[in-house]
Amino acid sequence: MIFDLADILPALPEMILATLALVLVLVAAYGGEGAKNARRVTRIALGGIVLALMLIWSGTAADETAFGGMFMADSFASYMKILVLLGTFGALYMSITPLAKDDINKPEFALLVVLALVGMMLMISANDLMSLYMAVELQSLPLYVVAAMRTNSLRSSEAGLKYFLLGALSSGMLLYGASLVYGFAGTTSFSGIAAAVSVDQLPVAFIVGMVFMVSGIAFKISAAPFHMWTPDVYEGSPSPVTALFAIAPKVAAMALMMRLTYGAFGAIEAEWSQVLIALSIASMAVGALGAIMQRDIKRMMAYSSIAHMGYALAGLAAGSHQGALGVMIYMTGYIFMGAGSFAIILLMRRDGQSATRIADLQGLSRTHPMLALGLMIMMFSMAGIPPLAGFFGKWYVFLAAVNAGLVPLAVVGVVMSVIGAFYYLRIIKIMYFEETDEPLDTDMPTANKMVLGVSIAVILLFFIGLSPLLEAANLAATALMTQL
């Protein structure tokens, strides 16, 4: 078997980023110590991400596979990769100016983020059980390291260790499930599995394998009941790392979940749909009820992201073209809401120390009116108030669920979304109606301004750009459903 250029060309953006990571290793090692080199490495990484973004943007919409069918580049992959690249760009861009005194300031950060990004893109393009597993590992390992990056902080080390142990457990579940699926399908390729699934009576062990695989990925998107690591990891990690966790990896894992359920297990929708419904209801409930009690805004964002994953899974559980489309619209809004919120959370500090309690937001409307306004828009969007981005996400997801006959699921989702609105609105109340004597620091780096500005613009004007977005998502959903 000999590769020619056409066989590896669809993976060009990934190859460019991987090569860039190797160059960055040298720059990080020989570029000198400290903050200046960290900034240089981050700038080069940002340039690489922009290049990959342009390549994918201008790429063809045709379905192409590379490396003997292990790598799939279709318009679904392009859509999700653009989201992941945008999210990672935002998170990395905001880490360029270290804000709090105790922030991470090492060249390795950007380098590991680029490697994780390659993993995420490979996850989205995975078309084989083996490439799926390798991509998941490539995505997870750098994230474990950056969670523990602040080595002099007990919290950060705890977050890294917890993330690592539970991540290893989820990898084990994923592998066990994959081994059962392989054992009964006799092949590792997704198209082969789809063919094996659609023939006749399936053995129970195959279903068990499928459930294990879905659970393993549910760990990665932190859907309840596999969410236990999320609040601790979000709280303990340095804030720029939390911002990254909240934005990019979830999109990649969700794409993998879609690829697996709609693609490889497409013919046994009745089986995985039940699992996803259970995951969805549990996540929505845990996210909405858990966030109410939180005092730390990073922990609250963790529960909020669990709830968001629950809503997205509700669309996925529909198992229809409309469901896939809804999830893609939801994830598009999600990365901008995450990026915008964390642009503000990163700025929450007092005398150079990060202050991330929710009570620290008191009186923000007097001291920083623009920030308060921005955070208000983010919170309204997350609560699903029309005409902001979050509303459209929820609309399409629940629409798909209702059309697929999952009315109880949609009802639970709407109820949980109302409960969830409580804690989003509480933040607005604290900002606008409570006073404080100790205002937060005032300086605001360009990076955060830019990310916040772009996020606000996207969220406010989401309804204008909705029709081209729907068109792109429609194309991507069609590619996802018909590839096999």
């Binding site: 390795e108 993993g119 991509a135 490539l138 390992l141 390291v145």
Partner: protein
């Protein structure tokens, strides 16, 4: 005939050393017996024609894992007498788990869950050649990702454990090599003729000898 002889030799030594791993009083001996067990298992792999697996077992398990165990046993202060205390209490549980394992092995051997027809004949496969044939072609993609994962592990381990400590005198070879005589030496002209100083210097040099 000779193959059977070697099989029973390897199997016998492996079982005996496996038993010794559990019962030996000194944990260092346990690890050494474990290494012996690995070597015998490698020998048995060679007997069934899986020479690549045999090499891998020696390289990975003996070369890395067992040596790591040895480090842990020797460097950490673990009270092994205390760990051994519950041996009798846990014996029934261990026997049950072992019994289940034996049952499963027997079932796999004599049951019809695995059809033996699909098994390739071990002696016909030159497995190192076969692996070499596909590793860099068919699975080049996975091979490259595995390489990236190992790179991540390396960077992660270094960046998490390396820290700058203050007050440690480090050697800077570049700085040492680039020292010039003019920068570091000062030639002081001393007026001669002071007998006292001369005598002292002479006495010192005699003492040195």
């Amino acid at each position: 005939m000779i193959e059977a002889l070697f099989f029973y030799l390897f199997a016998g030594v492996m079982l005996a050393s496996g038993f010794m791993v559990v019962v030996s009083r000194n944990p260092v001996y346990s690890v050494l017996f474990l290494i012996l067990a690995f070597f015998n298992a490698a020998g048995m792999f060679v007997l069934i024609g899986a020479e690549f697996l045999a090499m891998l077992l020696v390289v990975v398990y003996v070369g890395a894992v067992a040596v790591l165990f040895l480090f842990v046993v020797m460097m950490l202060d673990i009270n092994f007498a205390e760990m051994r205390a519950g041996f009798q209490k846990y014996l029934p549980l261990g026997l049950i788990v072992g019994g289940i394992l034996v049952f499963e092995l027997v079932a796999a051997m004599y049951g019809d869950a695995f059809s033996k027809a699909s098994l390739p004949v071990a002696s016909e496969i030159a497995n190192t050649t076969q692996l070499g044939g596909v590793l860099y072609t068919k699975y080049a993609f996975l091979f490259q990702i595995a390489g990236l994962i190992l790179l991540v592990a390396m960077i992660g381990a270094i960046s998490l454990t390396m820290r700058k400590r203050v007050g440690v005198r480090r050697q800077s070879i570049a700085a040492q090599n680039s020292r010039r005589r003019e920068d570091v030496m000062e030639i002081v002209k001393m007026p001669s003729g002071k007998a006292k100083a001369k005598d002292d210097a002479a006495a010192g040099s005699v003492d040195d000898k």
